[in-house]
């Protein structure tokens, strides 16, 4: 019988703990597929962050280290500087990357650190149970913005890809989404390109993946996709924000 | 024998360098020693001092509270440390920059017009070395024959002119000591 569906080698067979409809499963798979297709699993080292994806160290088949909240880019810097031959990636959520780890993120990009960041933006803190994230939308209701995010008191969401694309050190920044097959294919391509750039020593790469959190958004998985399309994509337009080597590809 | 030396002056007068020279001399002679600078936010121009201890025994505290030898390169340094010198100790003063005499009568005072001499005799900027020449001669803290080897530790041998320049300043200091 022909095999029509297979687990990527770069994923372990440990059952994932993610909620039904959560985007992490898809994104893990895309990362693993990129690693498989580039044949780099044996030399790749992943850095897990704090948040729902904390257990990603159990799911990726590569060597893994689990970093403190927000510190993944600094830990990845240490790993990469120790063994420049390794391919090093972090897998971080929005609270980790764009709130508590802003300094680490910005400076890793500014240094042109030759690492790849997979940044999952689902506009909410998942693991702690649905609090306002730095990327929560204006008016968005969360546990810590029960009357809706009021930009007059808590300010505006951080547009990470736009912000980092202003830094000379960043080589490649793209925002993708996982709401339909077309976008998932584009996301797969972007992630693979980021890893390729790293293996070519091109410098800092970050892929922002706009994703869903049905549980904490209080929606069914299907409705969550709709919410993403109606609310997140207008605020977080998809596309390439920076590609230092666009002309040379 | 232990000699506790305190060198004090403005930043930029060569306080730390002077101490370093003595420290290297002691190192070359196989003595025990410590060199401890005061340190602070003022990189230039503030007051600055340096404790140097040279001994035949392992050095205990590296902080010189009661110097056997005080080298005062300016008036504030003399004002601050005059009373701390042990009875029978020595005070070396750059008398071009200190406009008063030492009040104590139980110490040996050496007035060396180092800054004036440095200008008059073509040793601009190294009055400290003239003063140090007097200290080495007067205190015997390091031997005269150690001077060239100590100098080679602090001035690169590649800069022969600078080396000779400093050696001559030390010699002048030794010469003017009464």
């Amino acid at each position: 019988m022909a095999v029509v569906f297979e687990r990527p080698h770069a994923l372990t067979d440990v059952p994932m703990h993610y909620c039904p409809g959560c985007g992490h499963g898809i994104i893990h798979r895309l990362v693993a597929e990129a690693i498989d297709s580039l044949g780099i699993e044996g030399k790749t080292i992943g850095v897990a962050s704090v948040g729902c994806s904390v257990f990603s160290y159990n799911y990726f088949n590569t060597d893994m280290v689990q970093a403190a909240h927000g510190r993944a880019p600094a830990v990845a810097t240490g790993v990469k500087r120790a063994n420049p031959e390794n391919v090093v990636f972090t897998y971080q959520g929005d609270g980790d990357l764009a709130a508590i780890g802003t300094a680490e993120t910005v400076h890793a990009a500014a240094r042109g650190e030759n690492i790849t960041i997979i940044f999952v933006n689902n506009a909410i803190y998942g693991m702690t149970g649905g609090q306002m994230a730095p990327t929560s939308l204006p008016g968005q209701i969360t546990q810590t913005s029960p009357y809706g995010r009021d930009v007059n008191t808590v300010g505006y969401p951080v547009k990470v890809s736009e912000m980092l694309s202003q830094l000379d050190g960043a080589a490649y920044i793209e925002r993708v989404a996982i709401n339909n097959t077309k976008n998932i294919r584009a996301a797969a391509k972007a992630i693979k390109k980021a890893f390729t750039y790293q293996t070519e020593g091109k410098g800092f790469t970050l892929i922002e993946v706009v994703s869903t959190c049905p549980t904490n958004w209080g929606l069914t998985p299907e409705k969550a996709m709709g919410w993403l399309e109606e609310n997140m994509l207008p605020y977080y337009p998809l596309g390439v924000y920076k590609d230092k080597y666009a002309d040379k590809n | 024998m232990t000699k506790n030396i305190l060198i004090a002056g403005f930043g930029g007068q060569g306080v730390l360098f002077t101490g370093k020279f003595i420290a290297y001399g002691a190192l070359i002679e196989g003595k025990e020693l410590s060199w401890l600078p005061s340190y602070g936010p003022e990189m230039r121009g503030g007051t600055c001092n340096c404790s140097v201890i040279v001994s035949d025994e392992p050095v205990g505290s590296p902080i010189v509270n009661e110097p056997d030898v005080l080298i005062a390169m300016n008036r504030p340094s003399l004002d601050k440390f005059e009373d701390a010198v042990v009875p029978g100790g020595d005070i070396y003063i750059d008398s071009s920059l200190v406009d008063r005499e030492v009040r104590r009568t139980d110490v040996n005072v050496h007035y060396i017009p180092a800054t004036r001499l440095s200008t008059e005799r073509g040793f601009d900027g190294i009055a400290n070395m003239i003063l140090l020449g007097s200290v080495i001669k007067g205190s015997g803290v390091i031997k005269e024959e150690t001077i060239p080897a100590a100098m080679s530790k602090v001035v690169s041998a590649k800069r022969q002119n600078l080396f000779d320049f400093n050696i001559r300043a030390l010699a002048l200091g030794a010469e003017v000591l009464e």
Binding site: G42, V65, Q66 | K20, A23, L27, L36, S61
Partner: protein, 353 residues
């Protein structure tokens, strides 16, 4: 050993680290230890090493975590306020069983405090600094030579027990120059099968992690770690005794305080008082047994410290309060004078008669 050279304590740490095979340094400028970073910035590129000035103390310690995870000998250095920022990383390092050397050239606190020498981070260092059940090795040099020696030993101990090691110095130790001999032979490097080097598709993936949401598992990890700590306490204690054999009064101090105390002990002996000095070199593990043994003959103890009474607690605990222990201290960047310590010795001796 090579010939003796004159070095600042901070420079001796840096050069000794290089001699120990450390080729990765991550740091952030702070007085009075910046010479270490400056020295590394100059030397590392010339020997194929890595010097990186991080964006923060927090990032620096996390870069250390990354490099330690990758299996290399790595260090960072800072001074008191910077160590507070690094404390999160210290806890993670302990929880991940990662070896690294952390230098704290202490300055006065709390808060921004001052920049003059202090020993007021004693509790922070000996009790771990960060959150959770853990210890660090804490080594306290009292000369430039020991700054070098303990740096080299610190790396080896950290790797032997897979735990962070702190070199706890102070501004005086960092800034002073003394003759120092550095080893000229290359050190042995420990095997690190746990390190993240890439699986090469030939082994199961290595995971470096401090998280367990299963309480009984986390408890087991902690108990295992404390079994290792017990071995450290049994095998790695270091201390120095000076004239303690017949001493009635014993001064206890580490680092610069011990240097001052030694002068005072000599002065007391000259006055006919039987004084001695006990100097812990490992602050954790604290030389409890040796000090307790001393308490069988010595009748009074004095804790000399540049803090408001921190070391004194370990002295009292070690001797189980079997003898009077008094405090002789200065703080805020001040250093006790030998005269002050002598006065304390005289006072303690007078009470014995």
């Amino acid at each position: 050993m090579a010939e003796k050279v004159l070095m600042k304590g901070n420079e001796a740490i840096a050069e000794a680290a290089i001699a120990a095979g450390c080729r990765h340094y991550f740091g952030y400028p702070i007085t009075p230890q910046t010479e270490i970073a400056a020295y590394m910035a100059k030397r590392m590129p010339k020997i194929g090493g890595v010097f990186l000035q991080a964006e923060s103390e927090v990032s620096a310690v996390n870069m250390v975590i990354g490099a330690a995870s990758a299996g290399v000998r790595v260090m960072t250095s800072s001074s008191s306020p910077g160590i507070s920022l690094k404390s999160e990383g210290l806890s993670y390092m302990a929880g991940c069983d990662l070896p690294a050397l952390i230098v704290n050239v202490q300055r006065g606190g709390p808060g921004l405090g001052g920049i003059q020498p202090s020993q007021s981070d004693y509790f922070q260092a000996t009790r771990g600094g960060g959150h959770g059940d853990y210890h660090m090795l804490v080594l306290a040099p009292n000369s430039v030579q020991e700054m070098a020696q303990l740096t080299i030993q610190g790396f080896a101990l950290a790797e032997k027990y897979r735990m962070p090691c702190m070199l706890l110095a102070d501004g005086t130790m960092g800034q002073m120059m003394e003759p120092v001999e550095l080893p000229d032979s290359a050190p042995e490097m420990a095997e690190k099968p746990w390190a993240l080097t890439g699986t090469g598709l030939s082994r199961k993936h290595n995971i470096i992690n401090s998280l367990s949401l299963t309480p009984d598992e986390l408890e087991r990890w902690n108990i295992d770690r404390y079994a290792r700590y017990a071995k450290v306490e049994a095998d790695e204690v270091m201390y120095e005794e000076y004239l303690t054999e017949d001493a009635d009064v014993c001064v206890v101090g580490y680092g610069i305080a011990a240097r001052v105390a030694r002068n005072a002990v000599n002065a007391a002996r000259a006055k006919g008082i039987k004084a001695g000095m006990f100097r812990p070199i490992t602050l954790w593990p604290f030389p409890k047994a040796a000090l307790n043994k001393l308490a069988t003959t010595c009748r009074a103890f004095i804790s000399v410290e540049l803090s408001m009474g921190q070391l004194i607690e370990d002295v009292e605990l070690a001797i189980r309060c079997s003898r009077p222990v008094t405090l002789c201290n200065r703080t805020g960047g001040m250093i006790p004078s030998p005269e002050q310590v002598l006065a304390s010795i005289e006072e303690a001796a007078a009470k014995l008669n």
